[in-house]
């Protein structure tokens, strides 16, 4: 059964003055999938996320959420989107107070329910013993956990995370990954995250969107990418050069035959499978 398209981006262009940060980007995301955004620094990943969130509100093109053009000023829609994009808390307030402040916007939640929800979230992210500590006393990892807690304050359908693994130790990374998988599984949430850690992307993402210089380089599943990007590298005796050929046995045989005919001996044939890295560079 085909899943509902949760987010559709059509011909999105974003400028910073004369600099084009996003150039005519189009893609769509199905409900319940985890999307890994890949790209070098300055490729446009964060700009894309900020534009979806309405932090960069002047853009060309269209962003649709659940089939309707997104209105960033509408709290009903924005309540369904939560994010971890360069989050800064009120440092002089405690973890509890920060979350309480954000939750106070939702007048439907009573004070007792607010307390219950915040306590649950702080326990979920492992900050239950630091709930009354001021945020300025937190380490980076603790702030990242708190940021994750604010992501789950509202039952969002779309979660946008910018570099969620940065600054986390291996335990923190595993915790973050398991949390995201759990949210996807239990709440059918759609998650978009960007990362430079290719291992985490391949572990977590169902689909990859690779951005380079503001344009989409690849959009599809990791499996498709690996199949299309698999290739042979052929090294020759006495030469430092190599040639790259597609992952195809006929082409490989033909290439070997041609070189042997010319008297060039082959020293090594390797299969390149690191498709993500290829995309990244």
């Amino acid at each position: 059964m085909k899943k509902q398209k949760l987010l559709e981006i059509h011909n999105l262009t974003q400028h910073y003055g004369d600099f084009i940060a996003l150039n005519n980007i189009s893609f769509s995301i199905e409900k319940g999938t985890i999307i890994g955004l890949l790209g070098k620094n300055g490729a446009g990943k964060t700009t894309l996320m900020k534009t979806i969130l309405g932090l960069l509100c002047q853009y060309d093109g269209e962003i649709k959420f659940k089939g309707k053009s997104i209105n960033h000023g509408d709290p009903k829609i924005m309540r369904k989107i939560s994010s971890l994009v360069d989050v800064r808390f009120y440092e002089d307030m405690s973890a509890y107070e920060n979350l309480n402040y954000l939750l106070m916007a939702d007048v439907k939640i009573s004070k007792s329910n607010r307390r219950k929800k915040i306590d649950e979230l702080l326990t979920l992210v492992g900050l239950e013993n630091n709930s009354s500590s001021k945020v300025k006393s937190f380490s980076f990892g603790m702030k990242q956990r708190l940021a994750l807690a604010q992501v789950f304050l509202h039952d969002a359908e779309l979660i946008i995370l910018d570099e969620p693994f940065v600054g986390l130790d291996p335990v923190g990374i595993e915790f973050m990954k398991s949390m995201l998988k759990q949210i996807q599984r239990e709440k059918d949430a759609t998650i978009i995250f960007s990362s430079h850690q290719l291992e985490e992307v391949s572990d977590l993402a169902d689909e990859i969107v690779a951005i380079s210089d503001g344009t989409i380089k690849y959009c599809g599943t990791l499996q498709e990418l690996q199949n299309t990007n698999k290739k042979y590298n052929i090294w020759f005796v006495g030469k430092e050069m190599k040639i790259e050929i597609p992952y195809n046995s006929e082409i490989l045989q033909r290439t070997i035959h041609e070189h042997l005919k010319k008297g060039i001996e082959i020293s090594k044939i390797e299969v390149i499978e690191n498709a993500l890295y290829q995309l990244f560079i």
Binding site: G54, L55, F89, D92
Partner: protein, 245 residues
């Protein structure tokens, strides 16, 4: 607005009141202890309301600095610090963000202002404990005191909204300096007689010189309130189109 007040309380903004009350408190203690300079100032013709008004005039430079700082920190400070980004993506409409912040600041300033006058009122009584009959109210027109109280209050509100507006374009520290400078320049514009019915704070000063001229007072307030709402509308409009990065 409640959540903004919640934050104001947790940010301990109310400590700024101590700064504002420090000088009048010294003055009252000086009167009480009959220190030479203070005794000279404390003549019996001064009423408690006169005293409050004088105290306000005495520390107005610090007073305005504190008010402009509070407003700047609430908007420009959070815009610069990144907290406003978090609030913006957390389900609140941008119009509400501006209105909540502004109304919380305005309410806080009102409470601060009332406390300032009440405190000075009690300081006056403390300073005159040794006089048999402290003059609580003089025979002067009560409108003057309302004018001074209201004039300063409206001026604070106008400064706040200008701080919010300039904060859209500048960092916190520059906003603070620019708004304070604008206020400072306007104070000297007070010397131009024709401007006395435009700025409420000057109106307050003016009223101490010519008693009971309510036409000027009302005109000054109306101009300021109109100015306040025009800036508010422009602010909301521009904030909706502002890239918060």
């Amino acid at each position: 607005m409640l959540k903004e007040l919640y934050k104001i309380i947790y940010k301990k903004y109310y400590f700024s009141l101590i700064l504002l009350l420090f000088m009048p408190m010294l003055f009252a203690i000086g009167c009480f202890l009959n220190l030479p300079y203070m005794v000279e100032e404390n003549n019996l013709s001064t009423s408690a309301l006169d005293y409050c008004a004088e105290m306000q005039m005495l520390i107005k430079y610090a007073y305005f600095l504190v008010i402009i700082y509070l407003s700047t920190d609430a908007f420009s400070g959070e815009l610069e610090g990144g907290q406003l980004r978090l609030v913006t993506i957390h389900v609140i409409s941008r119009t509400k963000i501006v209105l909540q912040k502004l109304s919380a600041i305005c309410l806080f300033i009102l409470v601060l202002h009332i406390l300032f006058w009440l405190f000075n009122f009690s300081m006056y009584c403390l300073g005159n404990l040794k006089n048999n009959i402290p003059i609580v109210f003089s025979s002067k027109n009560i409108e003057i005191y309302i004018g001074i109280f209201g004039g300063y209050l409206v001026s604070f509100y106008v400064c706040s909204i200008i701080s919010f507006f300039i904060g859209l374009f500048m960092k916190k520290i520059y906003t603070l300096v620019v708004v304070y400078f604008i206020w400072f320049v306007c104070r000297y514009a007070d010397q131009i007689a024709s401007m006395k019915n435009i700025f409420p704070e000057f109106m307050a000063d003016y009223l101490t010189e010519i008693s009971g001229n309510t036409t000027y007072q009302i005109s000054g307030y109306l101009w300021s309130i109109l100015f306040f709402f025009i800036i508010l509308l422009i602010l909301i409009r521009m904030f909706h189109n502002k890239n918060i990065i």
